[in-house]
C-alpha cells in the first residue's frame, strides 16, 4: 500500500512528470492552463487530506473547513488591513491548525472514532458555513471580494497577476507537499501513523501515544490545507460561505486520493489528473456529440468513477505501480 522507498525508475518518472509540468504552460492554451491549475489544486489538497486518512487512518469529510478558514483569514487580512497573502498565510495556517486541534482534541479525547469522527468533521465545516453567513465583517452570505484589475505584471508578493503565475505557484506547492509527505511517511511519525491506521490498540501496546500522533496528523493536514485556501482566495478573488465551506467541496477534495490510491504518495497526483481530465474530457465529448441534456455529464462522470472504484478498489496508483514494476509485491 505504501512505498517507503522510491526505486530509481520511479524517480526518473517523477522527474519526467515534473519537467513536463514545468514546460506545459508554453504548449497549452489559456483554457487548458486553468484546467492544469485545477488539477494541481486537487493534487495538493488531496495530498494534505491523505496525511490524515491515508497515513493515520482518520477520515475527515470536512476538509472544506480548512480551505475556507485559510481563504477567509488571508482575504480578510488583505481586504481590511492590506496585509499581503504571504503574511496572510502565516496567520491562516495557525488558525486552521488550531481549529484542527480543537476537533482532534474533542474527538480523540472522548473516543469519537470512525464514522462518528467523520460526522464531527462535517459538523464543524457546517458550523463554519452557517457562522460565516452571519459575520458581516467578512461579507456574510453576500461574499467577500478581493479587488480585481487587469494586470500586466505578475506580482508574486501580492499574488496579483496572470494565471501562469498561479500555475507555477500551485506547482511549487504541490511539489513541496509531495516532498513533505514523502519525508513524513518515512519518518518515525509516519511509521506510527501507519501503525495507528492499521490497528490502533496494537499501536498503543507498542508504546505509541496514539492521541498525540493523531493530533499531529490533523494539525499538519489542516495547516497544509489552509495554504490551498489562501491560494483559492487570491486566485478566484471571491469567497462565499455557501461555496467554500459546502460539503460538496469537502467531497470533491477527497476524490483524487481515493481514486488515485489512499495512503500512497502518487495517488493524489494521479487521481487529480484522472478526475479533472475525465471531467473536462466529458464536457468536450458531450459538446462534440451535441448532447445537451442537463446532468448528463454528472451521470457519465459518476459511472466512470464507479467503474474505477469497482475495478481498482485500492485506487489506480497501486495497480499502475505494479504495471511499472515500482511496487514491491
Amino acid at each position: 500500500m505504501t512505498h517507503a522507498g522510491i526505486p530509481r525508475h520511479g524517480l526518473a518518472l517523477l522527474g519526467a512528470l515534473l519537467a513536463a509540468l514545468i514546460v506545459a504552460p508554453h504548449f497549452v492554451n489559456d483554457y487548458l492552463l486553468t484546467v492544469l491549475i485545477l488539477i494541481l489544486y486537487f493534487a495538493y489538497t488531496g495530498q494534505a487530506w491523505n496525511i490524515m486518512m491515508g497515513f493515520a487512518g482518520q477520515l475527515s469529510l470536512g476538509h472544506a473547513l480548512y480551505v475556507g478558514l485559510g481563504a477567509y483569514t488571508a482575504a480578510t487580512l488583505y481586504v481590511h488591513f492590506g496585509f499581503g497573502p504571504w503574511i496572510g498565510l502565516l496567520a491562516a495556517v495557525p488558525v486552521a491548525m488550531a481549529c484542527g486541534a480543537i476537533i482532534g482534541f474533542l474527538a480523540f479525547r472522548f473516543g469519537v472514532a470512525g464514522v462518528y469522527f467523520a460526522i464531527l468533521t462535517i459538523a464543524f465545516a457546517e458550523f463554519a458555513r452557517i457562522g460565516f453567513d452571519h459575520i458581516a465583517y467578512t461579507g456574510g452570505s453576500g461574499g467577500l471580494f478581493l479587488p480585481v484589475a487587469q494586470y500586466t505584471q505578475n506580482d508574486l508578493w501580492n499574488l496579483r497577476g496572470k494565471p501562469i503565475m498561479f500555475y507555477y505557484l500551485m506547482l511549487a506547492f504541490t511539489a513541496a507537499a509531495f516532498l513533505l509527505c514523502q519525508y513524513l511517511l518515512r519518518s518515525r511519525m509516519g511509521y506510527f501513523w501507519q501503525a495507528i491506521r492499521e490497528d490502533e490498540e496494537a499501536a498503543r501496546a507498542l508504546g505509541i501515544d496514539t492521541f498525540r500522533y493523531k493530533m499531529f496528523a490533523v494539525m499538519i493536514s489542516a495547516g497544509m490545507t489552509a495554504v490551498a485556501g489562501v491560494f483559492f482566495a487570491f486566485y478566484y478573488n471571491n469567497l462565499f460561505p455557501e461555496q467554500v465551506f459546502h460539503i460538496s467541496r469537502s467531497i470533491e477534495l477527497i476524490l483524487a486520493p481515493i481514486i488515485g490510491g489512499i495512503g500512497t504518495l502518487f495517488g493524489p497526483i494521479l487521481g487529480a489528473f484522472v478526475l479533472t481530465g475525465l471531467s473536462e474530457a466529458m464536457t468536450e465529448l458531450l459538446h462534440t456529440l451535441g448532447i445537451d441534456v442537463p446532468g448528463a455529464k454528472q451521470v457519465f462522470y459518476g459511472v466512470c468513477l464507479l467503474v474505477v472504484v469497482l475495478a481498482l478498489p485500492d485506487g489506480i496508483w497501486p495497480w499502475f505501480a505494479r504495471r511499472l514494476g515500482l511496487a514491491r509485491s
Binding site: M1, T2, A4, R186, S187, R188, Y191, F192, Q194, A195, E198, D199, E201, A202, A203, R204, A205, L206, G207, I208, D209, T210, G263, R328, S329
Partner: protein, 240 residues
Amino acid sequence: MSAFFSIAGVSKRFRGLVAVDCVSCEVAKGEIFAVIGPNGAGKTTLFSMIAGALKPDEGEIMFGHERIDGLRPDEVCRRGVARTFQIVRPFPALTVEDNVMVGALLRTSDTARARETAHDVLRRLDLFDKRQREARSLTLPDRKRLEVARALATAPQLLLLDEVMAGLRPTETDRMVAILRELNAQGLTILLIEHVMRAVMALANRVLVLHHGAPIALGSPAEVTREPAVIESYLGAEAV
C-alpha cells in the same frame, strides 16, 4: 528491596462477577513465570490489568520501584513491559520489517537504527527471510512469531505473552519454546499466560494457577500439577 515485578492484592470485578480476586505474586528478574487456569479463570483479565488495558479495582502492580497499574498501555510499554495479543494483531498492510520497525522506533527516532534493530529481532525470530512480505500474507505460526518480534523490538525488560502457543501445532510449539528459552537465556524476563501445558512444563520456572479468579496454587510446574486443587479445577473432583 523491591521485587523486579510484583502484583499485590489485585482484584477486578465486572458488575457482580469477580473476574480476578485478590491475586498476589512476585516475578524475579530472569524468570519465566506462567499463569495458568481453566477457561474463565481470570487470566486474560489479570493480563490486561498488567498491560494497562484495564484498571484494577483494588491492589497494586509494581514494576521496579514504580506503580504501573492504571497507566495507559503505551505508558506501560515505554516503561519496559511489552505485550503480545492472544488474537494476533499485526499491521496487515505493512511489511514484516515495517511491523517490527514500529516497535523499534519507540527507543530511537532514527529509522536506519530502528531498521537494524528490526533485522536483529527478525533473525532471532526466524522471520528475516520473510521481512519484505506483507504481514497479512503470513501463516498463523509466522504471525505469532511476528507478534513476539514486534513486542521484543520495543526493548522490554519484561515480556508479557498472552497464549502465544494457542493454535500452534506441536512442532511449531516446540519452535516457539526454543525461541523463548533463547530469549530468556539472554536475560529477558517472561510472564506468560498459557493453555498449552506442554509449553508451560517446558518453559516455566514457576506457575501460578488461577481458578474462578482466585489463586489456588503457586510453585514449580511439577509441584502445581501434583496439587489436588489444581487437578480438581482442571479435571473435576472425581479425578482426584
